[in-house]
C-alpha cells in the first residue's frame, strides 16, 4: 500500500489515458473536450509529482526510483507538454489533425518518458522507452494524407527501431556480464576489464545518443523535424530531450560510473561532433524547422559536454542547460506558430522579413530568443553556456571548452541571419494578427524569462543543487 503513494502520478496518468480514450470514443466531436482534459491531466500530474516526498525511495524490488532528479524532470516534462499543447492548439485545428487520438498519444508518450525518468532497472527503462517511441512514431506521421509527414514517421520508425535494437542488445550484454538488470547491482558488479560489458555499454550509449539526436546518430532529426506537423515538431524538440538526458545522466553516473574513463571519451566525441555539426550544417538551411533541428543537435552537444566532465557540477550545468534550452525553444516554436501570412503557416526563413514591420512585439521576442540561443549575455542562453564552461574548465578539459566556444561563434552566424531577415530586409508579406491567448502566453512567458533571468540567476541553481546522484 505504501508503494502506491509513490507511483500515484503514474497511476493517475495511465487511468486518465484510458478514461480519455473512452470519452473520446463515446462523446461526439470531442476533440476540444479531450484536449482540455489532457491539459488538466498534465497539470494535476505535475501537482502530484511536486507533492512527492523528498527522500530517495526505491520501490518494486528497487527497480523504480523516486528522487529529486526524477521529480524535477517529471515536472518539466508535464509542464512543457502542457505548454506545447496550449501553444499548438490553433495549428492543430487548422491543419486538420484535431483528432482525439492526438492528445491521448501525447499523454501516452509522456507516460513512457515518466517511466524512463524514474527507471532504476534496464527492463523498466526499456519498457518506458518503447512506450514513448511507439507513440512518437504515430505522432510523426499524424498528418496521414501528407507525404512528408508519412515519410518522416516511417524514417523515424525504421531508424529508431534499429537504435532500440542496439540498446536492447547492449542491455543484454551488460546483463550477461554483471548478472543483473538493476542499476545498483550492475554498478557493484561491473568489472573495469570486462570487454563484454564495455561493448554492452557502447551499444547502450549509441542507443541513447540516437534518442537525444547526438552526432553521428542524428540523421533522422532534420527530416523528422521538417516533415512532421509543426505541433509535433515542437513536441519532439522539447519533451523527449528531457527524458533522454535524464536517462543519460542516470546510466552514466549510477551503473557505469566505475568505468568513467572508458565512456568519457565517447561522450566527449559525441559532444564535440554534435557541437560542430549543429553549428556548421545549420548555416545553409532555409526551412526554419530544419534549422531548429540542427540547432537542437548543437545544443544537445553542449549539454553532453557538461555530462562528460564526470563531476557533480557538470551534471548540474547540463540540467540547467536543458531547462534554459526548453524555455528558449518553447518561445521559438511559439514564434513559428505565430508566423502566419494569409492564413498559411510560413516555414521558410525568407518569409520572415515582414514581421518587424507589422508585428513589432513578435519580432522583438524572436530577437531576444535568437540572441539567447546564440548565447549572448545578458540573456539566459549565455548563462546556460557559462555554467557548462565553468564545469568543463573545472575538469581541465580545455580542448572541449575551446571547441565549444568556437562553435558558439559559428552558430551565432545563422541566428544572426534570421535576425537580419527579420529586421534588416525589406518586408515582403503582411502577417496575420494572432488572437490565441495560449500562444501569446507561452511566447510572453518564455521570452520574458529569458530576458530577465540575469536579475536572479540563483533561482535555477537553488532548484538544481538539491539533486543528488550518487
Amino acid at each position: 500500500m505504501q508503494t502506491i503513494i509513490y507511483i500515484l502520478p503514474e497511476l493517475f496518468l495511465s487511468s486518465a489515458i484510458m478514461m480519455l480514450l473512452i470519452i473520446g470514443v463515446f462523446v461526439k466531436k470531442s476533440f476540444k473536450l479531450v484536449n482540455f482534459l489532457t491539459i488538466l491531466v498534465l497539470f494535476f500530474s505535475a501537482v502530484l509529482v511536486i507533492n512527492q516526498p523528498e527522500e530517495i525511495v526505491k520501490i518494486f524490488n528497487e527497480s523504480y526510483i523516486i528522487d529529486r532528479l526524477s521529480i524535477i524532470m517529471k515536472v518539466l516534462t508535464f509542464l512543457f507538454s502542457l505548454f506545447v499543447l496550449i501553444s499548438s492548439k490553433d495549428y492543430i485545428k487548422e491543419n486538420n489533425i484535431d483528432k482525439i487520438e492526438y492528445p491521448i498519444i501525447i499523454l501516452a508518450s509522456v507516460l513512457g518518458m515518466i517511466l524512463m525518468i524514474s527507471s532504476n532497472d534496464l527492463i523498466i527503462f526499456y519498457l518506458g522507452l518503447e512506450l514513448q517511441s511507439i507513440s512518437l512514431y504515430i505522432l510523426a506521421s499524424f498528418k496521414k494524407d501528407d507525404e512528408k509527414s508519412t515519410e518522416a514517421g516511417l524514417k523515424f520508425f525504421v531508424l529508431s527501431a534499429l537504435a532500440s535494437g542496439l540498446l536492447l542488445y547492449g542491455s543484454s550484454l551488460v546483463y550477461g556480464f554483471t548478472g543483473s538488470t538493476n542499476f545498483d547491482i550492475i554498478s557493484q558488479n561491473l568489472d573495469q576489464n570486462s570487454t563484454g560489458a564495455v561493448f554492452g555499454i557502447v551499444f547502450i550509449i549509441v542507443g541513447l545518443a540516437f534518442k537525444i539526436s547526438a552526432v553521428p546518430f542524428h540523421m533522422w532529426t532534420p527530416d523528422v523535424y521538417q516533415g512532421s506537423p509543426t505541433s509535433v515538431t515542437s513536441f519532439f524538440a522539447l519533451i523527449p530531450k528531457i527524458a533522454a538526458l535524464t536517462v543519460f545522466i542516470r546510466f552514466m553516473y549510477i551503473p557505469f560510473i566505475n568505468i568513467f574513463n572508458q565512456w568519457q571519451i565517447i561522450i566527449v566525441f559525441l559532444s564535440i561532433a554534435s557541437m560542430i555539426l549543429g553549428a556548421v550544417a545549420a548555416i545553409g538551411q532555409n526551412n526554419i524547422k530544419r534549422l531548429i533541428a540542427y540547432s537542437s543537435i548543437g545544443h544537445m552537444g553542449y549539454a553532453l559536454a557538461g555530462l562528460a566532465t564526470g563531476t557533480i557540477s557538470g551534471i548540474q550545468s547540463s540540467i540547467i542547460y536543458l531547462i534554459i534550452y526548453l524555455f528558449m525553444n518553447l518561445g521559438i516554436f511559439s514564434c513559428i506558430f505565430m508566423m502566419k501570412s494569409e492564413k498559411k503557416y510560413c516555414e521558410t526563413i525568407d518569409d520572415l522579413s515582414g514581421i518587424s514591420r507589422n508585428q513589432p512585439i513578435l519580432a522583438l521576442s524572436f530577437l531576444i530568443l535568437l540572441f539567447s540561443l546564440a548565447g549572448i549575455p545578458p540573456l539566459a542562453g549565455f548563462f546556460a553556456k557559462f555554467y557548462i564552461f565553468m564545469a568543463v574548465i573545472e575538469a581541465k578539459m580545455y580542448t572541449l571548452a575551446i571547441i565549444g566556444l568556437v562553435t558558439t561563434v559559428v552558430s551565432a552566424f545563422y541566428y544572426l541571419r534570421i535576425i537580419k531577415i527579420i529586421y534588416f530586409d525589406k518586408p515582403k508579406k503582411e502577417f496575420d494578427k494572432i488572437y490565441n491567448w495560449g500562444l501569446k502566453f507561452s511566447l510572453a512567458l518564455s521570452s520574458i524569462l529569458v530576458l530577465i533571468y540575469f536579475i536572479y540567476p540563483t533561482i535555477l541553481i537553488d532548484i538544481i543543487s538539491s539533486i543528488k546522484i550518487y
Binding site: F371, I376, P377, P378, F382, F386, F389, M390, I393, E394, Y398, A401, I402, L405, V406, T408, V409, A412, F413, L416, I419, K420, Y423, F424, F454, P457, T458, I461, D462
Partner: protein, 500 residues
C-alpha cells in the same frame, strides 16, 4: 557613501529605455515623447556623473563608491566601483551619449523610437563596463554591447550594412569568447572573480602567458589593433552617424580600459614579456593604417583608419608602463573620444544634406558653410595633434613615455604624427577649399542651431583639455601611480620566482 550612485548612473538609461518602450499613442506623439524621454534621461545621467566627479576623492587610489550585492550565491557578486582611471570614461560616455541622441534625432528617419531604445541600452552596457569590479559582470556588459550595436548598424546603416554588422559581431564575439575561457580559468585558479581581490593575488607564472593572450585577443579586436582591425572601417562606414560616434568614442575605449585594468593589473609578467609584440603591432598600425588613410576617397573610412592609427598610440602608451605613457594614453583615449566623435558628426552633417560620403563629391564648402568650415578646421587640427588641442597633450605624453622605454618605438610612432597631419589636412583641403564639384552644393545650408551647440560643446572640451589638462591629470594621477607601483612590485616578484 551608501547611496548607490553608480547603480543609478548605470540603470537610469535602461529605465529611460523601458519608458520609451511602453509609450503608446499615435505615431507622432510616440516619437515626440520618446525623444523627450531620451534627451531627459541622458542629460540627467550626464549631470549625475558630473556630481560623481565632484564627490570623487582624487587623493586615494582606492576604488570609491563601491557597492556590492550578492548575485549568484557564493560565487559572483554584483560589485561596482570607480577609481581615477574609470571615472573619466564614465564622464566621456555620459557626455557622448546625449550628443548621439541629438544627432540621431536629426538624421534618423524611421523607427526613431527603437533607435533611442538601442542607444540608451547601449549606454547602460557601456557604463557597466567601466564601473564593474567583477570579471564576470565586466564580461556581461562588455559582450552585451554587441546586441544593440549590431542592431544600430544593421537597421539604420548604409547600403552594405548587413555585411558590416555581421563582420563586427562575429569578429568581436570570437575575440571576446576567448576572454570568457580566461575568466573562468582565473576563477578556478584563484577562487574569485572579484577584481579588487584579484589585483592583490599573484597569478602563478605558468598561467600568465596564456591568460594574457586570451584577454589580448578580445581587447585587440575591440581596440582594434592591426591585423584584426578590418571590421572597424566597414562598421564605421555603414553605421549611422550616431552609431559611428558611439563606436569610435566609447566602444574602442573599452578595450584600452581593459588593457590598463586587466592586462597590466593581473598579468604583469606576461605584459612585460609581450610588450615587444604590442609595440610591433602598434607601430605597424600607426604607419600602415595612416598610409591607407591617405588613399581613402570615403571620408568616414578615412576617419576610421585614422582611429586605428590613434589607437596605436594608446597601446604604445599603455605598455610603456611609466607614468607619462599611461597618463598620456588615457588622455589620448579621452581626446580621441571627443575628436573622432566630432569628426564623424562633421561627416554626418554634410551626409544628411548631400547624401554622399565621397570626398570627391564635395569641395569649396567654405563658401557656402562658413561655420561648418570653422569647426571642421578645429577638429582637423585637433586630430593631427596641434598644440593647444587635446590631441597634442595625449600624443605628446605618450611619446615621452615611449621615449623612456624604447627610443626606436618613439621615433617610428612620431612618423605617425606627420602622416596624420598629411591625411587630415589633405582631407580638409579637398572638402572645404577648392572649387565646388557640383552646382547643387550651393544649396547646402550651414549648421543649424542644434548642430552648432553640439559642436561648440565639443570644441570647448577639446580646447579646455588642450590648454589646461591639469584637472584630468590630477584625477588620474594617484591611481596611475599606484597601478605602476603595483605592476613593478608584482613583476619583480614574478621574475624572482623564475630566477629561483
Amino acid at each position: 557613501m551608501n547611496f548607490p550612485i553608480l547603480s543609478l548612473i548605470i540603470f537610469i538609461p535602461l529605465i529611460g529605455a523601458i519608458f520609451i518602450f511602453i509609450t503608446t499613442g499615435s505615431q507622432k506623439n510616440v516619437e515626440k515623447n520618446s525623444k523627450y524621454i531620451a534627451i531627459f534621461t541622458s542629460l540627467a545621467n550626464f549631470f549625475l556623473s558630473i556630481l560623481l566627479l565632484f564627490s570623487f576623492d582624487n587623493t586615494t587610489s582606492e576604488f570609491q563608491f563601491v557597492e556590492e550585492k550578492n548575485w549568484i550565491d557564493g560565487f559572483i557578486s554584483f560589485k561596482l566601483g570607480v577609481d581615477g582611471i574609470s571615472i573619466l570614461f564614465i564622464l566621456l560616455t555620459t557626455f557622448i551619449v546625449p550628443i548621439c541622441i541629438f544627432s540621431g534625432i536629426q538624421s534618423i528617419k524611421f523607427k526613431i523610437k527603437e533607435f533611442l531604445i538601442a542607444i540608451l541600452v547601449m549606454e547602460t552596457l557601456m557604463l557597466g563596463v567601466f564601473c564593474s569590479l567583477d570579471l564576470i559582470i565586466f564580461y556581461l556588459f562588455f559582450e552585451g554591447g554587441l546586441i544593440p550595436m549590431f542592431l544600430i548598424i544593421g537597421i539604420w546603416g548604409g547600403p552594405k550594412r548587413v555585411y558590416s554588422a555581421f563582420k563586427f559581431f562575429l569578429f568581436t564575439l570570437l575575440g571576446s569568447i576567448l576572454m570568457l575561457i580566461a575568466i573562468i580559468s582565473i576563477y578556478w585558479i584563484t577562487g574569485t572573480t572579484d577584481i579588487i581581490s584579484l589585483l592583490n593575488i599573484r597569478i602563478p607564472n605558468e598561467y600568465q602567458y596564456l591568460l594574457w593572450l586570451a584577454f589580448f585577443s578580445s581587447f585587440a579586436v575591440k581596440m582594434p589593433m592591426w591585423p584584426v582591425h578590418t571590421w572597424l572601417p566597414d562598421a564605421h562606414v555603414e553605421a549611422p552617424t550616431a552609431g559611428s560616434v558611439v563606436l569610435a568614442a566609447i566602444l574602442l575605449k573599452m578595450a584600452g580600459y581593459g588593457f590598463i585594468r586587466f592586462s597590466l593589473g593581473l598579468f604583469p609578467l606576461a605584459s612585460d614579456y609581450f610588450t615587444p609584440l604590442i609595440f610591433t603591432l602598434s607601430i605597424i598600425a600607426i604607419i600602415y593604417t595612416s598610409l591607407i588613410a591617405l588613399m581613402q576617397d570615403d571620408m568616414k573610412k578615412l576617419i576610421a583608419y585614422s582611429s586605428v592609427a590613434h589607437m596605436g598610440f594608446v597601446t604604445i602608451g599603455i605598455f610603456s608602463i611609466n607614468k607619462q605613457g599611461l597618463e598620456g594614453s588615457i588622455i589620448q583615449m579621452l581626446s580621441h573620444g571627443l575628436i573622432s566623435a566630432a569628426l564623424f558628426l562633421c561627416v554626418g552633417v554634410v551626409y544628411d544634406r548631400f547624401y554622399s560620403r565621397m570626398i570627391s563629391s564635395y569641395g569649396g564648402l567654405v563658401n557656402f558653410m562658413p561655420k561648418y568650415a570653422l569647426v571642421f578646421m578645429i577638429f582637423t587640427l585637433a586630430a593631427l595633434g596641434l598644440p593647444g588641442t587635446s590631441g597634442f597633450v595625449g600624443e605628446f605624453l605618450v611619446l615621452i613615455g615611449a621615449f623612456k622605454k624604447n627610443m626606436l618605438v618613439a621615433i617610428l610612432a612620431s612618423l605617425g604624427v606627420i602622416l596624420s597631419a598629411a591625411y587630415m589636412l589633405w582631407l580638409y583641403k579637398r572638402v572645404v577649399f577648392g572649387r565646388a564639384s557640383s552646382p547643387e552644393l550651393k544649396e547646402m545650408k550651414d549648421l543649424n542651431r542644434t548642430e552648432l551647440y553640439i559642436f561648440i560643446s565639443l570644441v570647448f572640451l577639446i580646447l579646455f583639455i588642450g590648454f589646461y589638462p591639469e584637472p584630468l591629470l590630477n584625477t588620474i594621477n594617484v591611481s596611475a601611480d599606484n597601478l605602476i607601483i603595483n605592476y613593478q612590485t608584482n613583476l619583480e616578484f614574478h621574475l624572482e620566482k623564475i630566477n629561483k
